[in-house]
């Protein structure tokens, strides 16, 4: 089968599910972040694939670029928060951080 849109979408779906799986199951906050990155990547593959096969010009790529930039900003903020959580609780396992006050 000639590699076409569907193939790329399949990869994207797989990546998305794996990312979601990571987000849901991992205890460590940093690992959760990694899951999020995977999800964002899968979304980007979609953007680019549609831009390639969908005849809307390359706006799709630009969106992907924006997503990457947002991902970077998100990673920075999120990791800063994780660090703060760690500072407070000396732990980054999200299931154990249930005491939001303090």
């Amino acid at each position: 089968m000639e590699v076409g849109l569907n193939h790329f979408l399949t990869v994207s779906v797989a990546l998305f599910s794996l990312g979601l799986y990571g987000v849901v199951t991992r205890k460590n906050a940093v690992m959760v972040l990694m899951g999020v990155e995977l999800i964002l990547n899968s979304a980007n593959i979609n953007f680019v694939a549609f831009s390639r096969f969908g005849n809307f010009g390359i706006d799709g790529q630009l969106y992907a670029l924006f997503v990457i930039i947002l991902a970077a900003a998100e990673a920075a903020i999120a990791l800063a928060i994780v660090l703060n959580i760690y500072k407070t609780f000396v732990n980054v396992n999200i299931d154990e951080i249930n005491n939001l006050k303090e």
């Binding site: 670029l65 990457i68 930039i69 970077a72 900003a73 920075a76 990791l79 800063a80 660090l83």
Partner: protein, 145 residues
């Protein structure tokens, strides 16, 4: 016909292969005489104390963080740098504003001292403190000729 990226990929594969072959050649020749001491971590001949895998200076983190933001900024500026000439002064202004906004951030960090490596003021050695710590007092009088 490979695309230009294909050629790069060939480079990458080749480099990997080269390293692999070199390791393999070395494996054929080199001796293997492990011993307990040899397999210890090197630490100037002493017993390693504790693991290095401990938490690290947050400075490294802040540097990486600021870098990430700038990195992203540069990524955005590349397309701009390629095309701003077509838009004349307007094009230049867009980029310049972008840069200046980001520089505000940097100025802020500068002011806040985030660009400094963590360096608390080194206390000047104070004789009194040192003396108190040491209980027995030492006479400070010296004969200067």
């Amino acid at each position: 016909m490979l695309t230009e990226f294909g050629k790069i990929f060939v480079f990458i594969i080749l480099a990997g292969a080269f390293v692999g072959i070199a390791f393999f050649a070395s494996m054929l020749i080199r001796p293997k005489r492990p011993s307990h001491e040899k397999n210890l971590i090197y630490e100037c001949g002493e017993n390693p104390e504790g693991s290095p895998w401990v938490k690290f200076n947050i400075r490294f983190y802040v540097v990486a963080l600021i870098f990430l933001i700038f990195d992203v900024e540069i990524v955005l500026l590349f397309p701009w740098a390629l095309t701003y000439k077509q838009f004349g002064l307007y094009g230049f202004a867009t980029g310049a504003i972008f840069l200046i906004i980001l520089f505000l951030g940097m100025a802020y960090e500068w002011r806040k001292g985030d660009l400094e490596w963590a360096r608390p003021k080194v206390e000047k050695l104070d004789l009194k403190k040192l003396l108190n710590k040491k209980e027995e007092s030492v006479t400070t009088k010296t004969e200067k000729v």
